[in-house]
Symmetry: C2
DNA sequence: CTGTTACGGTTCCCTCAGGGAACTCAACGG
DNA sequence: CCGTTGAGTTCCCTGAGGGAACCGTAACAG
């Protein structure tokens, strides 16, 4: 096998990477999210090769992240499914990190306005259990039920 | 240019992808995070090509995501920097998504125990401004100060 | 009812990145 | 002094990404 098949690794990171880990996939999702959802629009906005874009779209549709809709005769557009919409959360965290560490003096290229409070903010991570802040330094990683291979460390 | 340089796209997703978007990078970070932090350990745990692993580690060290430490004469190990530790948050959200949509009946391969509350949970996204839940459907994306190109839509 | 666009891809070729295995070099361990 | 281990490097091969051209259908223009 040329490229390793991430979907077969027992690790939720690897499995998620199997879906959106190919180069361009997150940017394609972002574009669909903000309303740039037709083939030529996406291709021009990103400067992605048409060949690769076609592959990515097909892949994401197969994984039920996007759906393909005929909005006119032989004209198609793409939309996020529920799965896909939840994936945008991953992108939002990427943006928070990129804004903090890579945006430089120019500041972030995009801002988020939260409907609930009307304010501009970014996303923070909290615990589903207690609601408190949850970062990489606040947790222990333990083996879970889906861990099949007898790995020395829990795989993800 | 063969591979598109994501770092030059004015978008925090693209910039973050420039750092950890190459295949394997997130899994390498995850391994270092859980303590699998030496060359051969990582290589064997992931089954990654030694050549690619060497490239990824060099790249991540250059971007200040990892640091390379000599723990014995000519023996090196890798550790997350502050930047890198914050990146693990992105991985945690990937895990939450993968656990929900891809783990199947076997359940998640790993669990998180939150130090603060002692419970097993996953990460949820909240607004830095009001503390309320924040998902892709709860926000508007607006142009930010770092947006240079006159794009029709805010780039990220 | 014949051009001309526009959209949504597909096909082709070329180059470079990933995979795999072998090799290197330095430091132990006995 | 020899074998082993860690940490890479080098080599070749294949296949994925980039670029540009091409194709089929539909709507429109004249």
């Amino acid at each position: 096998m040329q490229r390793t098949n991430f979907g077969e690794i027992t690790c939720s990171i690897a499995r998620t990477m199997d879906v959106i880990g190919e180069p361009w996939s997150p940017l394609v999702l972002r574009n669909v999210y903000v309303g740039i959802n037709r083939f030529d629009q996406i291709q021009q906005n990103l400067g992605i090769s048409r060949k690769v874009l076609a592959e990515r779209l097909r892949w994401l549709v197969e994984r039920n992240v996007l759906e393909r809709r005929e909005y006119a005769a032989n004209r198609y557009e793409y939309a996020l499914t529920e799965r896909g919409t939840e994936l945008v959360g991953v992108l939002m965290v990427m943006v928070a990190w990129g804004d903090k560490w890579l945006a430089g003096e120019a500041g972030p290229p995009a801002l988020y306005r939260h409907h609930a409070c009307g304010g501009i903010g970014h996303v923070t991570l909290t615990c589903s259990n207690c609601g408190g802040p949850m970062s990489a330094t606040d947790i222990d990683v333990l083996p879970g039920p889906g861990l099949t291979a007898p790995a020395a460390e829990p795989a993800g």
